[in-house]
């Protein structure tokens, strides 16, 4: 009974059907978000459990089916990887390191995929986010103390065709904790990190103000796992298929 269950959970057939179902579920979800943005876009600013209390209704069924399928895929990937590693590990002395690493690579890719998947789960269910409108001279009370906006230095594209010519903006901040002042500088795409928080400069596209700047302040333990897992998986995949191609040519 236990063996049969394990075989079912570690089966590649199950992975294939789950991935096809997830693709279908995501496609349906994409259209729900497209046609009901007022319901689903707030998910980007709040944790799932908080969002569900306010917006959860019949239209959110696809998120639950997605979570169910992803959990199932995580278990399936873990079981597949364990089974493969268990078969591969005893053979490690029989082949050169390069050859063994090539055989090991698919399992490593699956482990990195699991890390990224776990990171997504952390992002959806834990962490904190605040969006704070700012202008030069503001002193804002935040969780880590106070944040003073010392200086705002915008630069613009010099082209009459551009309706919104804002090119870059540097913002000098002083982050004050109970004991110390930390001067920091952020600009678009160049966030700063401080005591587990990341501060990203943003601009409010809907505002009619001339320079509607705001800071996205995030504490998201999942982000780094998503990025690291995804990056290692993709680079390893590139190397793996390149090696396979080269080996096929030699044969």
């Amino acid at each position: 009974m236990v063996k049969a269950l394990w075989r079912f959970l570690a089966s590649v057939n199950l992975s294939i059907y789950l991935l096809f179902l997830i693709a279908l579920n995501l496609t349906i979800g994409a259209y729900y978000i497209k046609y009901y943005p007022d319901i689903f876009r707030p998910l980007n600013q709040m944790l799932f459990q908080e969002w569900f209390k306010i917006f959860g209704d019949g239209k959110s069924w696809w998120i639950f089916s997605l979570f169910f399928l992803l959990i199932f895929l995580g278990i399936n990937t873990g079981a597949c990887t364990l089974e493969r590693l268990a078969g591969l590990w005893p053979k490690r002395r029989g082949s050169a390191f390069g050859q063994f690493f090539l055989k090991l690579s698919p399992s490593l890719m699956h482990i990195f995929f699991l890390i990224a998947l776990f990171g997504h789960a952390l992002s959806v269910f834990t962490g904190t986010q605040k969006v704070i409108p700012i202008k030069a001279g503001d002193i804002i009370s935040v969780e880590l103390g106070t944040m003073e906006v010392k200086e705002v230095r915008p630069t613009f594209w010099n082209n009459p065709l551009l309706k919104n010519p804002l090119r870059q903006c540097e913002v000098a901040l002083d982050l004050k904790t109970a004991s110390q002042i930390y001067p920091k500088e952020i600009s678009f795409l160049h966030p700063c990190w401080f005591q587990g928080w990341s501060l990203h400069l943003d601009v409010d596209q809907k505002s009619k103000e001339q320079l509607p700047l705001r800071i996205i302040m995030k504490k998201d333990p999942g982000s780094r796992l998503i990025l690291l897992g995804g990056a290692f998986m993709s680079v390893l995949m590139l190397w793996y298929f390149f090696q396979l191609n080269s080996n096929n040519k030699k044969d």
Partner: protein
């Protein structure tokens, strides 16, 4: 002559090159077809590069705009296949999607999407470039798969194309995630664009795993490669059309 005009004229020349190639193939003049195909690709390359200076200053993203970069990628992949696989039968197959997508680019409103403060990152063109290259692999893979299913001696190369498409697509997703994290603080957003991309990734991840199951022989996999293209084209053109209102520097600019 402005960079925008050079870009447009070289694209018209490229289209002319593809058109002559198409008719040369119909007349079975393979050598002429190959020469004009290369001429078309070189002009197309010039057009894509000059798109980077379309607005009078350098901005990389327009070089990788899906509508014009997709036919370039298809033509480039076609040339690679011809050189490395040396399978001349593939040439006439490959030419049709190149011509078709170049025709779409020809008819599509000209212009470029303007830069904004948050796409001044190397990860942004890296994302678009690798995503379009992946789409080209999926499109060409599906197209060659059609001949594999319908002909007795069809080429098996479609499988390699789809696999490499998946590799490039994974790299594009990572570049996009880094870009989104730096700019908006989160590598993933609950947005139709992100969910659509994840759906395509999962579909082709399933395709990659099919080779480990005996009942999914190459003919069945060809069917999956062909079906996948619906997902790619629907999501791709949906975003392109939604971005049309933002375009500047062209007929509608």
């Amino acid at each position: 002559m402005s960079n925008a005009e050079i870009s447009l004229i070289s694209f018209y020349l490229a289209f002319g090159g593809y058109l002559v190639t198409f008719f040369s193939c119909l007349l079975k003049k393979e050598r002429v077809a190959e020469v004009f195909f290369v001429v078309g690709l070189v002009s197309h390359t010039v057009s894509q590069i000059t798109r980077g200076w379309y607005l009078g200053f350098f901005f990389a993203n327009p070089m990788f705009n899906e509508i014009s970069f997709l036919p370039w990628c298809l033509a480039f992949l076609g040339l690679l296949l011809l050189r490395f696989k040396e399978d001349i039968r593939l040439f006439s197959h490959i030419l049709i999607p190149v011509f078709l997508f170049a025709l779409i680019a020809l008819l599509y409103p000209k212009g470029v999407l303007p830069p904004f403060a948050k796409n001044q990152s190397v990860f942004s063109p890296l994302f678009f470039g690798s995503e379009v290259l992946a789409h080209a692999c999926f499109v060409l893979g599906a197209w060659v798969a059609v001949f594999y299913v319908t002909q007795k001696n069809g080429s098996r190369i479609f499988n390699d194309l789809v696999i490499w498409g998946f590799v490039f697509y994974s790299l594009s997703q990572v570049s996009g995630a880094i870009w989104a994290y730096l700019g908006w603080g989160s590598p993933f957003h609950w947005a139709d664009r992100h969910l659509g991309s994840a759906a395509i990734w999962c579909y082709y991840a399933a395709y990659i795993h099919l080779s480990f199951v005996a009942k999914w022989d190459l003919r069945r996999r060809a069917g999956v490669a062909i079906a996948g293209i619906v997902l790619v084209l629907v999501f791709t053109f949906q975003y392109q059309l939604s971005e049309l209102v933002l375009m500047i520097g062209g007929k509608n600019g």
